[in-house]
């Protein structure tokens, strides 16, 4: 253990980590009292200190193997002005058991540093952080830890009000505003164990409210709710609210991944938690959260990343955990009972070193200063590598559970974070908000298969079901671009998103077989969009939580998906159907995601009751209160340029170069300038294509199509129904005339009730394009009018 770390441990034994700033507000800053100060000390049973405190340091540094990281312009003082002290009142008592008891009041204090810099990187910083708060609390220290009498035990209870936590780069800031928080943590123990510290928090409970998350693009503002010039409230992303009941244990030891540094291990159990995102009185709630996670061998070093860039390195041995969300709901924020539920989510995960497609990945993040090169000197650059070795994600609604099993994800690249304002700076267009940039981020994910019912059910195919929710079963990509999250929705609080995303050399599966059926990993067979280039742009897309659900309104969106080869079989070597290009241009399209699925449905017939439905030949199904309904309005605009239009191109017979077909050299079929309109000749285009999709996890009727044994050797006759039966080796059997009870054990799948309608959809022209002969128009216009399609579909995974 280094001598520097010995000193750190001695400090920690007096001031436990985490509680240092909140619960021990003045001890580290104690100074000698003059006569005037002494006049403020009163009381018979202890000492009361009343202090106006301001502390400043131009630089606080930490050195690791001679490499430094620095907090610049550190300050503790009042939060109400840029300068001046904060008031502290501390009552100190020695109790009968020799414990030290501190009652404290802190009024409007700000703890701040203006930048974080690294040695050897002049002129670039990670940005500044400020933390405002008033505190009232109690802190008690007594001797004796969990491991030995040499340890220490702490109790901490406090209430925080007027809280504000902000991140600032280049004069722009995003901050949590109007934070109130109550925390109780009793019996915290601190022991020296081996070469490190062990901190055990047997129970910490609390609640919090964050009134708003605000953005400011005005450099004159600094941690204020209102704009300095206009006096108007700064725009808000919405608020947060929640409570928690946790147990946690930390181990902290000296020694980084290389030389000096820290090692951190942590075990945390979430006994209960609730989390609400609040937007103008409506809440998206994640309720009844339980779980646990273990951080194993997290090392913190000041070091260089894989490209030799100086960074604060966080390298992880492994992270595993489980998370259960008892209900994802939308409803009124303040105690309203009118809530609707999407259902429940369970997640098991393991981040660990692993090889994918022949290349090994670890879990590491290297924090560097600067952010996007054109955004200014301050920002955060994250050289990140991740390896999600395995995860199972299950979705349960109305008691029916589907498990997406064997999820893996990997990648490496740079992620930049800047708080930006609406401007063109150094030739790059920025928008108001928190800008998350992606620079040469090469990553991917894949899903092994589905399990239905429980974790031990047989692995099945069917991940294609996720396409109904717009998710590919497998995707590899090279990503550049940004998503800028602005404050303020369509009305009041919410999000405004501007985004430019570019994917190169992508491989996305439309259909994908498992990558591991128990005999080791293998190349996934499927139907693949390969050699995929995708450019997508979104302007002024708003996201709001409404009484109904999550409402997303696109201002203007355009994209080009260029699939170099649509391959069947192997994603690299499978034969190709040719090249496909899909261009989209939408203005004013919207999507609302609503909790609750189809409810009671007459499948295959018509009728509003069980009897009338069955009389019409249909099947009456009550799919319950939970599920997901997606309400889409897609307004396809008429072409305004070659890059902003709706078109579809299929190209084959391309000339080859180096064995690979060259795009643009073959024969093309082009459906050009596809657009919607209201069909009245006025040119109005407000109706678009309106689609309602209600998706439930529900029992589906699966009928055997041929006599004899099936793919898993289970015998049955043509027309027999598949009935799940855990007593059978395959997990199911075939029944010729299932009883009512047996029908309750039909296999689970996705049940989709859909309605799609449009007034008019036009294709301006359909051309055949020859590489030398040019374009020949084959069809001079297509118009479809007054279309209303209703569908009841069930999709079930098959082994």
């Amino acid at each position: 253990m280094t001598s520097r770390f010995h000193k750190f441990i001695k400090v920690c034994r007096v001031f436990p980590l985490g509680s240092l700033a909140l619960a021990m507000p003045a001890l580290s800053d104690m100074q000698s009292l003059d006569d005037a100060d002494m006049a403020g000390i009163s009381g018979q049973s202890g000492i009361t200190l009343e202090m106006d405190l301001e502390v400043g340091a131009s630089q606080l540094s930490y050195f690791d193997d001679g490499k430094g990281i620095h907090l610049e312009n550190f300050r503790i003082g009042t939060s109400e002005a840029e300068q001046g002290p904060a008031s502290h009142v501390i009552k100190i008592d020695i109790e009968d058991d020799a414990s030290l008891n501190l009652d404290y009041l802190v009024d409007n204090r700000r703890i701040e540093f203006r930048d974080i810099t690294l040695d050897g990187v002049p002129g670039r910083g990670m940005g500044g952080v400020f933390f405002d708060h008033s505190l009232a609390g109690n802190f008690r220290i007594r001797s004796g830890g969990a491991r030995s009498a040499a340890g220490t035990t702490f109790d901490s209870v406090f209430s925080m009000t007027d809280g504000r936590l902000g991140y600032r780069t280049n004069g722009n800031e995003v901050f949590l505003d109007d934070i109130t928080m109550n925390v109780e943590a009793l019996g915290i123990t601190l022991d020296v164990v081996g070469q490190g510290l062990e901190i055990n928090v047997p129970r910490v409970t609390g609640s919090y409210d964050i009134g708003a998350i605000r953005h400011s693009g005005n450099p004159s503002n600094h941690g204020r709710s209102r704009d300095a010039q206009s006096g108007q409230l700064l725009p808000s992303y919405g608020g947060l609210s929640g409570d928690f009941d946790l147990s946690t244990r930390f181990g902290i030891a000296g020694g980084g991944r290389n030389g000096e540094g820290f090692r951190i291990d942590n075990e945390t159990t979430i006994h209960s938690a609730n989390f609400l995102y609040i937007d103008d009185g409506n809440a998206l709630g994640f309720r009844d959260i339980t779980g646990r996670y273990n951080i194993n061998d997290l090392r913190v070093d000041v070091t260089d990343d894989w490209a030799g860039r100086r960074a604060l390195g966080l390298t992880l041995g492994s992270l595993d955990g489980e998370l259960a969300i008892g209900g994802i709901e939308v409803g009124q924020a303040n105690g309203g009972t009118d809530r609707a539920s999407f259902g429940q989510i369970n997640l098991d995960f393991l981040f660990i070193d692993h090889a994918y497609n022949g290349r090994s990945y670890t879990n590491a993040a290297y924090l560097q200063g600067g952010g996007h090169a054109d955004a200014g000197p301050q920002g955060l650059q994250l050289a990140a590598e991740w390896s999600l070795g395995n995860a199972d994600l299950s979705y349960t609604e109305d008691g029916n559970r589907l498990i997406f099993s064997g999820i893996q994800s990997w990648g490496r690249g740079d992620i930049t974070v800047n708080v930006t304002r609406d401007e063109v700076r150094n030739g790059t267009r920025f928008y108001d908000g928190l800008r998350i940039g992606f620079e040469s981020l090469r990553g991917g994910y894949r899903i092994n298969g589905l399990r239905v019912g429980d974790d031990n059910a047989p692995l099945q195919g069917g991940t294609e079901l996720l396409l109904a929710l717009g998710v590919y079963p497998s995707y590899e990509f090279d990503l550049d671009g940004h998503i800028t999250l602005g404050a303020g929705g369509a009305d009041g609080a919410g999000l405004t998103i501007n985004s430019d995303i570019r994917i190169r050399d992508g491989r996305a599966a439309i259909i994908a077989a498992p990558y591991n059926e128990g005999q080791g990993e293998r190349s996934q067979k499927g139907l693949w969009l390969t050699d995929l280039d995708y450019d997508a742009h979104v302007r002024d897309m708003t996201v709001d939580v409404t009484e109904e659900g999550l409402a997303i309104i696109k201002g203007e969106a355009w994209s080009t998906m260029d699939v170099g080869n649509l391959r069947v079989g192997d994603k690299a070597g499978g034969k190709s159907f040719g090249r496909f290009v899909v261009q989209k241009y939408e203005t004013g399209s919207s999507m609302t995601v609503i909790p609750g699925g189809a409810g009671a449905v007459c499948a295959g017939g018509s009728g509003s009751s069980s009897s009338s439905c069955e009389a019409s030949g249909g099947r009456w199904e009550d799919r319950g209160d939970e599920g997901v309904t997606i309400r889409l309005k897609q307004i396809f605009a008429k072409a305004v340029s070659e890059s902003r239009k709706n078109a579809f191109t299929w190209e084959t017979n391309r000339r080859r170069s180096g064995g690979a077909p060259v795009s643009g050299t073959g024969t093309q079929l082009v459906l050009n300038d596809i657009y919607t309109s209201d069909g009245d000749g006025s040119g109005s285009n407000s109706f678009g294509i309106q689609t309602d999709l209600a998706v439930d996890v529900y029992q589906t009727k699966v009928v055997k199509k041929t006599d004899g044994p099936d793919a898993l050797g289970v015998s049955g006759a043509r027309g027999d129904e598949k009935i799940m039966d855990p007593t059978r080796a395959a997990g199911y059997r075939y029944v010729s005339s299932p009883s009512s009870a047996q029908r309750q054990n039909r296999p689970l799948g996705f049940a989709v009730q859909a309605q799609s309608q449009f007034k008019e959809l036009s294709i301006n022209n359909i051309d055949l394009v020859h590489p030398t002969g040019g374009a020949q128009t084959m069809v001079y216009g297509v118009k479809m009018q007054n279309v209303n399609i209703n569908a009841n579909l069930t999709a079930t995974p098959i082994p």
């Binding site: 195919g461 009245d680 589906t700 118009k783 009018q785 209303n788």
Partner: protein
């Protein structure tokens, strides 16, 4: 709509398969498939109706299905000459249902009377439902001088009406695979 998109992507390939290649392929039984690995997929059932209760336009031409003076079906028009007339499928309505349409990717490297070994490639397999039930599916084939029936001087000549009712038996698998220079 999403499922319709998926169907449209897959079914779009059907017309692209060389007829000669398809003719030599026979249906595999479930048992024959039992030694084929990596064949997970999905099984689809359902019913789809088009303009069963009319469409979204209400004007002088389109309206309620209860109104004998108006049409409540969908309309599809296209033209092959720049200034020519329009071929029209008009008043499209109906309902069809199917059970057991399957979709998966699999390798064909045996069977088919020995052709499978020579073929030795991956295919998209669309397992046809045994029965597709058509219920009152109807449309008219017509010729028109305008795409929109509400245009001034609109004239249309109905050529014939089609109505389909009953079951269509569709057995076996449709195998879709690339052929030729992509």
């Amino acid at each position: 709509m999403m499922w319709i998109r998926i169907f449209s992507v897959v079914l779009g390939f059907i017309g692209l398969v060389p007829a000669g290649a398809m003719a030599e392929l026979d249906r595999l039984t479930d048992e024959a498939l039992s030694d084929v690995s990596g064949q997970g997929g999905i099984y689809l059932s359902g019913d789809i109706s088009i303009n069963e209760n009319g469409g979204p336009i209400d004007n002088s031409y389109y309206g309620s299905c209860e109104d004998a003076n108006k049409k409540c079906g969908a309309r599809f028009a296209y033209r092959l000459k720049e200034d020519g007339g329009w071929m029209v499928l008009d008043d499209i309505r109906g309902n069809f249902a199917f059970e057991g349409l399957t979709l998966r990717v699999r390798s064909v490297d045996s069977g088919f009377g020995g052709d499978g070994q020579e073929f030795d490639s991956d295919v998209v397999e669309i397992g046809l439902p045994n029965i597709v039930r058509f219920n009152d599916v109807r449309f008219k084939i017509a010729a028109s001088n305008e795409a929109r029936p509400t245009a001034p001087n609109f004239r249309q000549t109905d050529i014939l009406s089609v109505q389909m009712q009953g079951d269509v038996v569709m057995e076996g698998n449709m195998l879709v695979f690339p052929k030729g220079n992509p």
